[in-house]
């Protein structure tokens, strides 16, 4: 537990030294906040990708809390924390014979890598996961998943390029059940949420899972790149609409981006970030803990 926390803290260091550090310095400064102060805070939050509306909301809430006697630090701490989803952040793996985890997202966000990371984590926790290499579209998409499978010692169901991904998923579920796997992770091709045909395709894949298993996928996870700006909101909106997301995975948190889009994402769709990707290595996967996330910004 300690190690996970340490790693997590370390990864956030960049965030802390960057814009949020300056932000904290400001709100910890002496005297009562004036308008310049709020303007500066606004800019700092904007630069962290919180987005215009959310920033306005945070500042409004913080003003109220300040009026009711909180310190600037408390006020902003609460204003930000209050935006995050109250839902649980553990992967839903219990209470299912063979949970299916479906990973979706736009192109290049880190789906395939994350599938490998999560599969390894499950394996290390004593489960017997199977991976379905559902990206039969992108050149070598399936090969990429297979290389990861070999690396982490997890079996991968793969088909030749161009194979119908829904059919592949169908077979993977059979294979999982017949061969005693107790978790199925499905990688999917990157799809732009603006392409109706591709969104229909992923809807179909989800329906096949439901039909085959008689139940919804245990997790339908939207993978979001932390460097994404306000478009992440559109992605979440459309994917959520099509698939009823159960969680988000924020990747590339090891980069210089602040990942502030999380605040808007969670407050708008009430879908919690369940995991964060902190690097390209297969162990660079951490739990997302909102308290620590926000606290780390203030400490």
């Amino acid at each position: 537990m300690a190690t996970i926390f340490e790693k997590y803290e370390k990864g956030l260091e960049k965030t802390r030294k960057g814009v949020f550090a300056a932000f904290i310095q400001k709100i910890k400064g002496p005297g009562l906040p004036d308008e310049t102060f709020f303007q500066e805070v606004e800019e700092l939050l904007l630069e962290a990708d919180l987005g215009f509306r959310t920033v306005a909301q945070v500042i409004e809430t913080a003003r109220q809390k300040l009026r009711s006697g909180q310190t600037p630090e408390e006020a902003f701490h609460h204003a930000l924390l209050g935006l995050l989803s109250p839902s649980g952040r553990y992967l839903n793996l219990k209470g299912e014979d063979r949970p299916v985890l479906l990973f979706v997202g736009v192109n290049g966000v880190g789906k395939t890598t994350t599938v490998a990371k999560v599969a390894l984590r499950l394996k290390e926790e004593g489960m017997r996961p199977l991976i379905a290499a559902g990206d039969t579209f992108r050149a070598a998409g399936s090969a990429q998943m297979q290389v990861w499978g070999t690396k982490i010692g997890v079996d991968v169901v793969a088909k030749p390029p161009g194979h119908d991904p829904a059919a592949l998923v169908y077979e993977a579920i059979d294979s999982a059940d017949q061969n005693g796997y107790n978790a199925l992770l499905i990688d999917t091709a990157g799809r732009m949420h603006t392409k109706k045909g591709l969104m229909d395709e992923i809807g179909k894949i989800k329906r096949i899972i439901e039909k085959k298993s008689g139940t919804k996928p245990a997790e339908t996870l939207l993978v979001v790149d932390a460097t994404t700006g306000q478009n992440a909101l559109r992605q979440a909106e459309i994917f959520h609409d099509a698939l009823e997301l159960t969680g988000l995975i924020l990747t590339k948190v090891d980069g210089s981006s602040k990942g502030g889009i999380v605040f808007s994402l969670e407050s708008l769709y009430n879908v919690p970030v369940k995991l964060i990707g902190m690097g390209e290595g297969v162990h660079h996967l951490e739990m997302f803990d909102p308290r620590k996330f926000v606290e780390a910004l203030f400490s």
Partner: protein, 434 residues
């Protein structure tokens, strides 16, 4: 991509135009809306500040106050300023033999796809391209580029024997030379601009092979941090231009303004889809027109022209005139459209079309599969397709008889339409399907 921004600006300007006379306070109000729109479009907040200041300086001048249509005047100022920020179009320099292009960028930005797209583009222009697979980091990245090279039929240097990137790049360029390639495109592994050792690797590569162009591949969906990324790459290795990818998303793409304003680096190409044809030259006027919601007929026409060779066009025109248009031609048309890139991206360029309209591309595939299940004779003389043939075609294509009927009806309608519009000519137009 800029749809939402342009509609926001629309709203802002409508508010302005409702007033008879424009006062400095009105300008301020209008600009407030523009500021919000730009921020929501992911333009870096400092860039927004600077941009708004520049527009305001001009807008509050006499021109606007004297103008009869203040909203139009401001649109023009905003437009001119944006054009100014985006700069003049800059082609990829291909004046050295061979010309080495090094693609760099963050993980997942779209470098590998962009490499193949560039290769295809140069191939079409008759400049022999060659690819070098130097992403030795991401699993199967080499396989990916190899497969793309095969798809577009372009030479490639790819090896899985080593992890030595510099060595691979050098050998790859050598192989390209031996291949008499004019353009050698080097794909590299994605990396964070804050990753010291990986950035040093690029610095070294650049020093050793002196590429003619080092292009930063950047994602149109990027947020505020795009500025730091671009500055990071530019400061450490020096970039000559940007390829802006995933413009087929509905991201407003404000990063584009930021990249230019902060780094002064020209944007050379935009990626508009997953296919190897989905690459467009960056054209600031068109981008700004898009930002301001003016549609982009020119791009559409240009694309259509590129796909229809003159001969094919003449041939088809003749057929249209004589109404000899067969299902075979129908299928040819579909193939051309598919080559032209995604339908939705084409439709979006047509002014007056709803920006968020979705085109059902699966319908194209359906039509194609039905025609493919016909015999050549049936394709040429669709009139002979009666019940039993319909059943066979339906079974062969995995579609229903109703769908076959629908296609035949559609075909009849297009044929009639073509007869009517015969004299209108074909170039730049795709009759029958739109």
């Amino acid at each position: 991509m800029f749809d939402a921004l342009s509609s926001k600006l629309d709203v802002a300007f409508k508010k302005l135009s409702r007033r008879g006379v424009l006062r400095p306070a009105d300008v301020k109000n209008g600009l407030r809306e523009i500021r919000i729109a730009l921020l929501e479009a992911d333009v870096h907040y400092k860039v927004v500040k600077d941009f708004i200041r520049r527009v305001e300086e001009k807008a509050v001048g006499e021109d606007v106050l004297k103008s009869l249509t203040p909203a139009q005047q401001i649109i023009k100022i905003v437009r001119d300023e944006m054009l100014d920020v985006l700069g003049a179009p800059a082609p990829v320099n291909s004046d050295t033999s061979p010309t080495v292009i090094l693609l760099v960028g963050l993980q997942g930005a779209g470098k590998t796809t962009a490499a193949a797209k560039l290769a295809k583009k140069f191939k079409k222009e008759g400049l022999k391209p060659f690819l070098v697979a130097a992403d030795l980091q991401r699993p199967a990245a080499v396989d990916q580029l190899e497969q793309l090279a095969r798809d577009i039929d372009v030479g490639i240097y790819a090896t899985k024997e080593t992890k030595n990137v510099l060595n691979t790049v050098q050998k790859g360029i050598e192989a390209g030379r031996k291949n008499f390639a004019k353009i050698i495109i080097v794909d590299t592994a994605g990396r964070l601009q804050i990753d010291r050792s990986l950035m040093e690797e690029l610095v070294l590569i650049k020093k050793k092979v002196s590429p003619r162009e080092t292009l930063l591949v950047a994602d149109a969906m990027a947020g505020q941090d795009a500025v730091n990324v671009a500055a990071g790459f530019h400061d450490q290795i020096g970039i000559d231009g940007v390829i802006f990818t995933k413009v087929d998303s509905d991201a407003r793409g404000g990063a584009l303004l930021s990249l230019r304003m902060v780094t002064g680096t020209p944007i050379k190409f935009v990626g508009v889809g997953e296919k190897s044809d989905d690459l467009e030259a960056f054209q600031p006027e068109r981008m700004v027109s898009r930002i301001l919601g003016m549609g982009d007929v020119l791009t559409l026409i240009e694309k259509a022209e590129e796909q229809f060779s003159d001969e094919e066009a003449r041939d088809m025109e003749e057929k249209f005139l004589k109404a000899q248009f067969t299902l075979e031609d129908f299928m040819k048309q579909i193939k051309m459209i598919k080559k032209m890139g995604s339908l939705s991206s084409l439709v979006k360029m047509i002014p007056g079309m709803p920006r968020d309209m979705d085109v059902d591309e699966s319908q194209l595939i359906r039509v194609e599969s039905i025609i493919q299940s016909m015999t050549p004779r049936e394709r040429r003389y669709p009139a002979i397709i009666k019940a039993s043939r319909k059943k066979r075609i339906a079974a062969g294509s995995g579609r229903s008889v109703a769908e076959v009927n629908q296609l035949l009806r559609q075909y009849e309608v297009s044929k009639k339409m073509m007869k009517k519009m015969g004299k209108g000519g074909l170039k730049g137009n795709v009759p029958g399907l739109f």
